[in-house]
């Protein structure tokens, strides 16, 4: 167990390190120059040179990388060019918003998609189920920016019951949550259907049924419990992906999260901020993934971590 954890943590650190290094090199291959966007249109060549000097952009990429690594190990991710504050702090300020949105979207997904998937598995291939099935396909076929704008128009403009952008009241959470959750609900309910259909067709269900176990218990206690691992894995993976940035939805709703931050950082070529964002979100996503893997044995005693199957 300890060895397993150590190996996983090692792998995670390596992945994060490689990711950040890739991003570091990629942003510097860019044709754009942070100094120009920082100094504004009226800057003189001397201004630009001074700014480049100040940001340490005159050194070779390799030298910059070494400095970046040195700072990284002392916990310093550099100062954001546009916010004039430590990049790490800027990201951490935005993170709670993204986390809130991700948690509420996954909660809504779980509440809707699991019962829906179970229902679809129990009624597989009946007319109504085929209808529901096609609806879930439609759900996974909608561009989120479009459904976001449509929801916004319907519930913030035509029938103004909810705020249109930002996060000032809890009502502001409703529309972004639904927009994010549409795709997740479609994916998860289809997964639940597939897993449950497999579980309900397995021999232990037949045995339990022949012993007089009620259909309700068969579905929820026997079927769902045995489908729990793939479903939970998927929910966790989706959650981790959401932490990585709900870029489009955040832009549509003016949500002050990490996703809209990264778009801004890319536009202004704010190197430290881009690096910090990628580092924090990648680390968070990997951590969530690890926690899910650690939760397996609690759900299914047959799973032993760290041993080859």
């Amino acid at each position: 167990m300890v060895r397993y954890l150590a190996r996983r943590l090692g792998q995670s650190l390596l992945t994060i390190f490689l990711t950040v290094s890739t991003v570091f090199v990629l942003v510097r291959l860019a044709p754009g120059d942070p100094a120009t966007s920082y100094a504004g249109p009226n800057a003189t060549t001397e201004d630009l040179a001074r700014i480049r000097e100040q940001f340490g952009l005159d050194d070779s990429v390799f030298a910059q990388y070494l400095i970046f690594l040195r700072d990284l190990f002392t916990g310093d991710l550099g100062t954001s060019y546009s916010f004039h504050a430590p990049a790490f702090d800027v990201v951490m300020d935005r993170l709670p918003y993204t986390t809130t949105l991700a948690i509420s979207a996954i909660a809504l997904t779980t509440v809707v998609a699991v019962p829906l998937g179970v229902w679809m598995a129990r009624r597989a291939d009946t007319n109504r189920e085929i209808g529901a099935n096609i609806v879930t396909i439609a759900g996974q076929s909608m561009p989120d920016f479009w459904s976001g704008v449509m929801l916004l128009t319907a519930f913030a403009v035509l029938i103004p019951v909810l705020p249109s952008s930002g996060f000032t009241t809890w009502g502001g959470l409703v529309l972004p949550t639904i927009t994010v959750a549409i795709l997740q609900m479609a994916l998860i309910s289809r997964l639940v259907r597939r897993e449950m259909a497999g579980a309900l067709a397995s021999p232990y269900i037949t045995v339990a049924r022949s012993r007089g176990v009620s259909e309700r218990a068969l579905t929820w206690r026997y079927g769902l419990r045995n489908s729990a691992i793939p479903v939970l894995t998927a929910l966790g993976t989706r959650f981790a992906a959401l932490l990585n940035g709900v870029v489009v939805v955040e832009v549509v709703f003016g949500w002050p999260g990490v996703g809209s931050l990264v778009v801004r950082a890319l536009e202004t070529r704010d190197y430290p901020l881009i690096q910090a964002t990628v580092l924090v979100t990648a680390a968070l996503a990997i951590l969530v993934q690890l926690l899910i893997d650690l939760a397996y044995p609690l759900l299914d005693p047959r799973v032993r971590l760290g041993k080859a199957a």
Partner: protein
């Protein structure tokens, strides 16, 4: 589920005691019917979008960039503009169809590239194992843990957003899915007796992989590629919505929507209609992919007898 068969009934002209109704209610029949339904609806939806896009140049439409400032934001069905006009008096239907040519080209090219890379890499990893497998698997894992859209935006921001760049970016984003599936299919396939037989006959390993294993898995692998086409179209439209799509003069779907967003309160069609076209196409492609997969599943369970 099933009711007991009545074997004492008078002999019917049917050779089996299973009545037509029971047959129609059987799981296999219902499954096949669901698959057929999905395929039909999917094909209709897809053709409804693809055919007009393919014929965009032939249809009697104004050019996608023809401005007529006297006819700004006309509602649909007025003055010969089926989908209305936008804030610069351009015909929305024409813009959607011409934009669709760009989106579909990018989507198809991206999917072909990612399909080829994914199948080659996945098949090599599954068949050769060893260090080839390690390299491919690590690459897959690393890419799966990356924030996808963020990376796409990054790369597009770095190199200019031209059609080749966007195509390759989407292809690179999508190959892991194909590679993972192909790898797992090959892993199963290579343990089958015919592979051992081919080896006994002295065939070269590459020959076995290309001539014997690949033909057996290619159908399933291409099914995933079809589903990826739907995803590629969505990715492209998201990128161009964020301003990282193909630049003007191309009227891409994402940009038509982001431009129309400012007028949503007064001109609903500028956002609603292009979005509906995207949904129709993507639903269609997804339904075809899903239907084909269901159908192959029905066949497989039928032959394996469980």
């Amino acid at each position: 589920m099933s009711t007991a068969l009545d074997t004492t009934a008078t002999p019917s002209p049917r050779p089996s005691a299973v009545s037509a109704r029971q047959l129609a209610a059987s799981t296999a029949t219902r499954r096949a019917r669901a698959a057929r339904l999905k395929l039909w609806i999917g094909t209709v939806c897809t053709l409804l979008v693809v055919v007009p896009i393919a014929l965009a140049q032939l249809l009697p439409l104004p050019g996608p960039n023809d401005q007529d400032l006297g006819k700004r934001r006309l509602a649909p069905f007025t003055e010969g503009h089926l989908f209305g006009t936008d804030q610069l008096g351009r015909d929305v239907l024409s813009r959607i169809l011409h934009g669709g040519q760009v989106s579909l080209t990018i989507g198809v090219l991206a999917v072909v590239v990612s399909g080829v890379i994914g199948i080659v890499a996945g098949a090599a990893a599954g068949y050769f194992g060893g260090w080839v497998d390690s390299v491919v698997s690590r690459l897959l894992e690393a890419q799966m843990s990356l924030p996808l859209l963020m990376m796409l935006l990054l790369v597009v921001a770095l190199f200019d957003p031209s059609v080749p760049v966007i195509t390759s970016v989407i292809a690179v984003a999508q190959w892991p899915e194909v590679a993972r599936l192909t790898r797992s299919l090959v892993l199963v396939e290579r343990e089958k007796p015919y592979v051992a037989a081919a080896r006994m006959l002295g065939l070269h390993r590459i020959q076995i992989l290309v001539r014997h294993i690949l033909p057996n898995i290619i159908r399933q692998a291409t099914l995933v590629v079809l589903l990826l086409l739907a995803q590629a179209v969505l990715l492209e439209s998201a990128l161009s919505y964020l301003g990282a799509g193909p630049q003007r003069p191309f009227a891409t779907w994402g940009r038509i929507i982001s431009d129309g967003q400012d007028y949503i309160t007064t001109s609903w069609w500028l956002v609603t209609l292009p979005g509906l076209v995207i949904v129709l196409l993507v639903v269609g492609v997804n339904l075809i992919g899903d239907g084909l997969r269901d159908r192959s599943r029905v066949r497989r369970t039928a032959t394996e007898g469980n």
